[in-house]
């Protein structure tokens, strides 16, 4: 059994009177693909937003790679090694695909104003390295041919891939994908699956929110199910599918 990468302890989150997350605890192990599923409004995206520092949790704590995550500091979370994509794709629309990925390198690079203006050796070298890495990543997600196109001009599937490439550019330990297959057809989903498996092979742990149950069940090592903000189940896919609570949550078995 491999070591723990992320531990969520009793996370609570309310919006006014509405409870988005109640006492959610879960553990993600190094190197696994962990699925987070649940009906609409179950709190999956809320959990993502708490995890990545966009929301301030009302209770509980997150331990990542042995360090406590500071709430409300998304850039620090990224620095510690959690990268994410967004359910409703958030690219830098008026930047090229290439530039989008280069922005992802920001957190691992250092050049400041003086470096930028003076173009000293270190800065030019760093800039070249950023560019090289961005090219590699565009290749990796198979959209190298769109490198110079504006992100908002890419097709939907390519935008999803670009977002993953940008997230990978931050050298994450944990890659959190929020419904990456949403709106994709069968072929696109299949190649996305390959991509995610490849990412895991490269040693990056993956947290996956997904509606496509087939994809989750086929891909994930373990799955947690949220319902009304509470975790009702966490296990390997084959057992989760048989859990009566889960079946009930999904209104009688659309999960199978």
């Amino acid at each position: 059994m491999s070591s723990t990468l992320l531990e969520a302890r009793a996370i609570d989150k309310h919006f006014g009177g509405v409870t988005a997350l109640r006492n959610v605890s879960l553990t993600i192990r190094q190197g696994e693909i962990y699925g987070l599923i649940g009906p609409n409004g179950a709190g999956k995206t809320s959990f993502f937003n708490v995890l990545t520092g966009l929301y301030h949790p009302d209770g509980g704590e997150l331990i990542f790679a042995g360090e406590k995550l500071q709430a409300s500091a998304p850039h620090k979370v990224a620095k510690l090694g959690i990268a994410r994509t967004f359910q409703n794709i958030r690219l830098f629309g008026n930047m090229t695909a290439m530039e989008n990925v280069m922005v992802g390198r920001h957190v691992r690079t250092h050049a400041g104003v003086f470096g930028a203006v003076l173009h000293d050796r270190r800065t030019t070298r760093e800039e070249a390295a950023i560019r090289r890495r961005a090219e590699e990543l565009l290749n990796y997600v198979n959209i190298a041919d769109r490198a110079d196109d504006l992100a908002r001009h890419l097709s939907y599937g390519d935008q999803r891939r670009l977002e993953i490439a940008r997230a990978l550019a931050t050298d994450p330990k944990l890659l959190a994908l929020d419904e990456p297959a949403a709106g994709m057809n069968g072929t696109e989903t299949a190649s996305l699956r390959e991509l995610i498996e490849g990412i895991r092979k490269d040693g990056i742990t993956v947290l996956l929110i997904e509606h496509d149950v087939k994809l989750v069940m086929g891909l994930c090592d373990r799955v947690a199910v949220l319902d009304y903000g509470e975790k009702i189940c966490e296990d390997v896919p084959s057992l989760v599918q048989k859990d009566p609570k889960v079946i009930e949550a999904y209104l009688g078995g659309s999960i199978a």
Binding site: F15, G16, V18, A20, Y55, H56
Partner: protein, 307 residues
């Protein structure tokens, strides 16, 4: 004479005027998400037109009440036409343009109106003819003129009317729907273009009234008066939480009080270091202070964490 009470009274009068103008900003912002930079100039046009009519009729022998009513009607009609045209010409074609484009046209409109006014009415200050009753009343050792009472009363009535309009009528419901989500409102059969036009017309009518009030209160009108007034009123709208009707009223009154009390007491507060000519600074300091702690204004919705 009690200075404190006097400053409160002055502040209320000033604040009522700010509030009327602020409503124009906030209504347009609420519906279109646009800073109507030219609104202050509409107020100025209202003041100039009203003053022109009053000057023409001052010696006509008509009762003062009728003169004022005619002046107001003329100002309102002109302002409504101006407001309507501004939206049609400068904003509507840019509704889906980059966000700063309509701001620049708004600035352009503002410059045009100001200079048009200078061409029509000249560079000079225009004095308000002394036709209004100057009777003063004693309140707790301070004085309040009939004019001041009238300003506060009329402003209050108009604000109340506007709130009823927005919350109790079909038109108001359509306006609220449009501000909530224009495309859905359109699907539900609301004619957005019409609603936006009406919003500009109502805002401009309020501006006309405010214009007359300002010129009566200060006995003066000037082609440049719309600029600072607009700035203050916009500040008031933001202070309350722009887009929010009640916020504009609250922001306006509050700003009026702050300015008036500030001007009265700043010398004492700073040990004579800062004099009353720093009056204009208050508005901005308060604004910055409020926004630092409540980034969406006093009554504005909290946007940082919206569920």
């Amino acid at each position: 004479m009690d200075i404190f009470i006097q400053q409160i009274i002055n502040g209320l009068v000033l604040g009522s005027i700010y509030a009327l103008v602020a409503l124009g900003y906030t209504m347009v912002y609420g519906i279109m998400g646009l800073i109507n930079f030219a609104h202050g100039e509409v107020v100025m046009i209202g003041a100039m037109v009203a003053l022109t009519v009053i000057k023409l009729l001052a010696n006509s022998g008509l009762p003062v009440f009728i003169i004022i009513l005619l002046a107001l009607a003329a100002a309102a009609v002109v302002c409504m036409a101006v407001g309507f045209s501004i939206e049609r010409i400068a904003y509507r074609p840019l509704r889906h343009a980059p966000k700063l484009a309509p701001l620049i046209t708004a600035i352009g409109v503002s410059i045009v109106l100001q200079n048009l006014s200078m061409l029509i009415w000249g560079r000079n200050y225009h004095a308000f003819p002394p036709i209004l009753p100057t009777s003063a009343h004693d309140v707790f050792g301070a004085t309040i003129t009939t004019l001041q009472v009238a300003i506060v009363l009329i402003a209050t009535l108009m604000m109340a009317g506007l709130i009823v309009l927005i919350h109790r009528t079909r038109l108001g419901r359509a306006m609220r729907a449009t501000s909530e989500n224009p495309s859905i409102a359109q699907l539900m059969g609301v004619n957005i273009n019409q609603i936006i036009s009406i919003t500009f017309i109502i805002g401009s009518a309020l501006a006309a009234v405010a214009g007359l009030m300002v010129s009566a209160n200060y006995s003066i009108a000037h082609y440049y008066m719309g600029f600072m007034l607009g700035l203050k009123a916009f500040t008031a709208a933001v202070l309350g939480g722009i887009g929010n009707i009640a916020g504009a009223v609250l922001g306006g009154i509050l700003l009026g009080l702050i300015e008036s009390l500030g001007a009265g007491y700043i010398g004492d507060l700073t040990g004579g270091f800062l004099g009353s000519h720093y009056q204009d600074i208050f508005a901005f300091f308060v604004l910055i202070g409020v926004l630092i702690f409540r980034p969406s204004g006093l009554v504005g919705e909290k946007v940082s964490e919206r569920a």
